[in-house]
């Protein structure tokens, strides 16, 4: 109760004791009306009339009060109200959530959250950006670093730990982030020693190298990380100064291409040897690729002998860069462009698939295997292993998948 309420309360109490009781109106409410009022059973119109009478008639009001108290209306009203209060409370709570005072604070909180989110994103991106740039530069310029100009050859030890080897020394010697240094520290010294010799990759080779998938990049890096695998011939390295710059560049490209092709052909030849026993078509492809590997080896041998065969190396490089994941068509060697696109390979779920007509065939598939024909969407398809279904969904169309020693033709 507020002080103002207390003052009015006092005044009314005083007033109530001083005002004489009004004279009875004469017509009192009968017992039935009194009881009906006390029990709250009256229609609205009648109740309104009786309220007016009760205000003026002390006697009837006392009767009604006694009846209401005696009939247990006090407890009845107290019991009924909690449910009503609960409903009102729920509704009031719901309305209160969207009331203006609450929305005022909610808007303020929303602004704070937005500011915090923007700040978080901004602060989070800032340290990450140099790493991303460094890694991209490293990966993309790694091949380029192998074709440094000859004028920087004497600076090779100083350039260790730098990535942008194609840039002038003044730029490359600028301090770099720790992440960049750590990545470049892993580069072998042999690579930097070979840098002046392997600079002059042609633009097409650079583009091809940049477009290589990660596997090819890894293959490109692997021979660099194993410098003892294909060291440059002593005669070539010593006589490099006597050669023209184009010859030096060509020799570096040849040696790099030979390393790549040897590594790639080694794995491909193994696969193709397996494939050769599978299918007649695959036999043709394996044969063709075997020829290519022989060609690459021959070029490598010629390189080692000091007689660079630039044409052969270029062919090997191009194939290793662009066509390595693909299975060469037997007719590709014949130079038919339509046949080059007829055969394609793709990977799904860690498996390689060869396109044969309208059908993708798992390279593990053998002609001796019996095929289980399964339609997509059928119950049999639904009953397959999730891994098998996932591969089928990734490949799409008709596909032959070898799964757990069984071959499935999924249409």
């Amino acid at each position: 109760m507020t002080p103002n309420d207390g003052q009015i309360d006092l005044l009314i109490r005083r007033f109530a004791t001083r005002v004489p009781a009004p004279a009875d109106g004469g017509a009192h409410l009968d017992a039935d009306e009194l009881n009906a009022f006390a029990e709250g059973a009256l229609p609205a119109a009648a109740r309104s009339r009786y309220v007016s009478h009760l205000v003026e008639c002390d006697q009837c009001r006392r009767h009604v009060s006694d009846l209401a108290i005696a009939s247990g209306a006090v407890g009845r009203v107290s019991e009924e109200l909690p449910e009503q209060r609960k409903t009102i409370g729920w509704w009031a709570t719901l309305v209160g959530l969207f009331s203006l005072p609450v929305l005022r604070y909610a808007a303020f909180a929303a602004v704070l959250v937005i500011i915090a989110g923007v700040a978080f994103v901004a602060l989070r991106r800032r340290p990450v950006a140099p790493e991303l740039v460094a890694s991209n530069e490293q990966r993309q310029e790694q091949p380029v670093s192998a074709v440094k100009p000859e004028t920087y050859a004497g600076d090779a030890p100083n350039r260790e730990g730098t990535v942008k080897t194609s840039q002038p020394p003044s730029v490359s010697q600028t301090p770099l982030p720790a992440g960049v240094a750590s990545t470049t520290d892993t580069l072998p010294k042999v690579d930097t020693a070979k840098l002046p010799e392997t600079k002059a990759l042609e633009p097409s080779k650079e583009i091809a190298a940049a477009e290589m998938d990660p596997m090819k990049k890894a293959e490109t890096v692997v021979p660099v990380q194993q410098p003892s695998y294909a060291p440059a011939p002593p005669g070539q390295s010593q006589s490099g100064g006597r050669f023209s710059q184009g010859q030096v560049q060509g020799g570096a490209a040849q040696s790099l291409g030979a390393l790549k092709t040897q590594q790639a052909d080694k794995s491909q030849s193994e696969e193709r040897e397996r494939d050769a026993t599978k299918d007649a078509r695959l036999d043709d492809a394996a044969r063709q690729q075997a020829n290519q590997s022989v060609l690459a080896r021959r070029s490598a041998d010629e390189k080692q002998k000091g007689g660079p065969s630039r044409n052969m190396d270029n062919v090997a490089m191009n194939r290793s860069a662009n066509e390595m994941p693909r299975t060469e068509s037997p007719r590709k060697s014949d130079g038919a462009p339509a046949d080059e696109e007829a055969r394609q390979t793709r990977s799904a779920g860690g498996r390689k698939f060869v396109r044969q007509g309208n059908r993708w065939v798992d390279q593990k598939f053998k002609s001796s295997m019996s095929l289980n024909n399964i339609s997509r969407g059928s119950d049999e398809f639904a009953a397959l292993d999730s891994g098998l279904r996932s591969i089928a969904q990734q490949v799409g169309g008709e596909v032959i998948i070898v799964w757990k020693g069984k071959a499935y033709l999924i249409k």
């Binding site: 005044l11 005083r14 009881n35 006390a38 007016s52 205000v55 009001r61 006694d66 108290i69 009939s71």
Partner: protein, 315 residues
């Protein structure tokens, strides 16, 4: 548009049939017999206050009647002994309890309880030869037990009046009023002892003005609010009891009372400002001063009231 007599009769007949169907024990009453009572009850509680009541309101009212109690009462009026036995067995305890509550002593309670049954049965016969007891006034709107308590209460008051020739409530009220007037009139109040005659005069004038404005503000309140004020301030009921009379919870009554306080204060200040040309601050200050003086004045008054109450209870 008000209903035609034929429509009303049809509504009564249909209502009587529904009441008989609703009653657990119809006591072999027919709808036609019940229709007459229903028509009288409807006239009393519906058409008297709302002559244009529609059929839905009438149906709702008739369906809210206590059908079982009404059939029992009608059967008693018809002279059904089984019904009388049921009435006595079912409500004898209620009558005795009500008599004890309404009477000041046990002997008077027994007297009231004995005479109530005679009143219910009717010592005099009506024009149709049937006993003209008080049961004829039961409508079925409220419960039969509550109606019996009300009848017992009225009977107890009548007997008390006949015995003492005095109304105790009025006597108490007069005694209290006399005591209060004596306190105010002889100048024994606390603040009056310390106040100068000039202050006393101004305070009395201000108090009279405030009291007049207060009476006007209370008179302008709606009847529901006035009834709450009467029950709480004039009859001395607790908020819980006052709320029960009005059919609302104590918390609701409290909120309503707080609202009334604000309205009354606003009206009193407005009246004081209008009649005396005071500013709002002056009106508020006058109210505060009068209330503060009342605070010191009310305490001995309340003490005197409590003393007189204790003395009455001891006697």
């Amino acid at each position: 548009m008000s209903l035609t007599p034929k429509q009303i009769d049809d509504l009564m007949l249909a209502g009587a049939r529904r009441a008989l169907a609703r009653a657990g024990n119809a006591r072999a009453l027919d709808a036609q017999y019940l229709t007459g009572r229903l028509r009288a009850v409807t006239d009393k509680y519906i058409f008297k206050h709302d002559p244009a009541a529609d059929a839905a309101a009438i149906d709702s009212f008739l369906d809210g009647l206590h059908a079982d109690a009404l059939c029992l009462v009608l059967a008693c009026e018809r002279g059904d002994d089984h019904a009388w036995n049921d009435l006595f067995e079912g409500f004898g305890a209620t009558v005795r309890s009500a008599a004890r509550s309404a009477s000041s002593n046990e002997a008077m309670a027994d007297d009231v309880a004995q005479s109530i049954w005679a009143e219910l049965h009717g010592l005099k016969s009506r024009e149709d030869g049937k006993p003209g007891g008080k049961l004829a006034y039961y409508s079925g709107v409220g419960s039969l037990g509550g109606w019996l308590r009300a009848v017992v209460g009225q009977l107890a008051i009548d007997q008390h009046r006949r015995q003492t020739k005095l109304v105790q409530a009025e006597e108490d009220s007069d005694l209290d009023r006399m005591a209060l007037d004596e306190t105010d009139g002889n100048g024994d109040g606390t603040f009056q002892q310390s106040a100068t005659p000039e202050d006393l005069l101004s305070i009395n004038l201000a108090s009279a003005d405030v009291e007049k404005a207060l009476a006007q503000a209370l008179a302008e309140l709606p009847d529901e609010d006035r009834l709450l004020m009467k029950l709480y301030y004039f009859d001395g009921l607790r908020l819980k009891e006052a709320g029960a009379v009005l059919g609302v919870h104590e918390a609701t009554a409290s909120r309503r009372l707080t609202r009334i306080h604000g309205e009354v204060r606003q009206k009193v200040e407005s009246t004081l400002m209008k009649e005396h040309g005071w500013t709002k601050a002056e009106a508020a200050r006058s109210l505060s001063e009068v209330a503060a003086q009342l605070q010191t004045d009310v305490e001995p008054m309340l003490l005197a009231q409590s003393d007189s109450t204790v003395q009455r209870s001891m006697t």
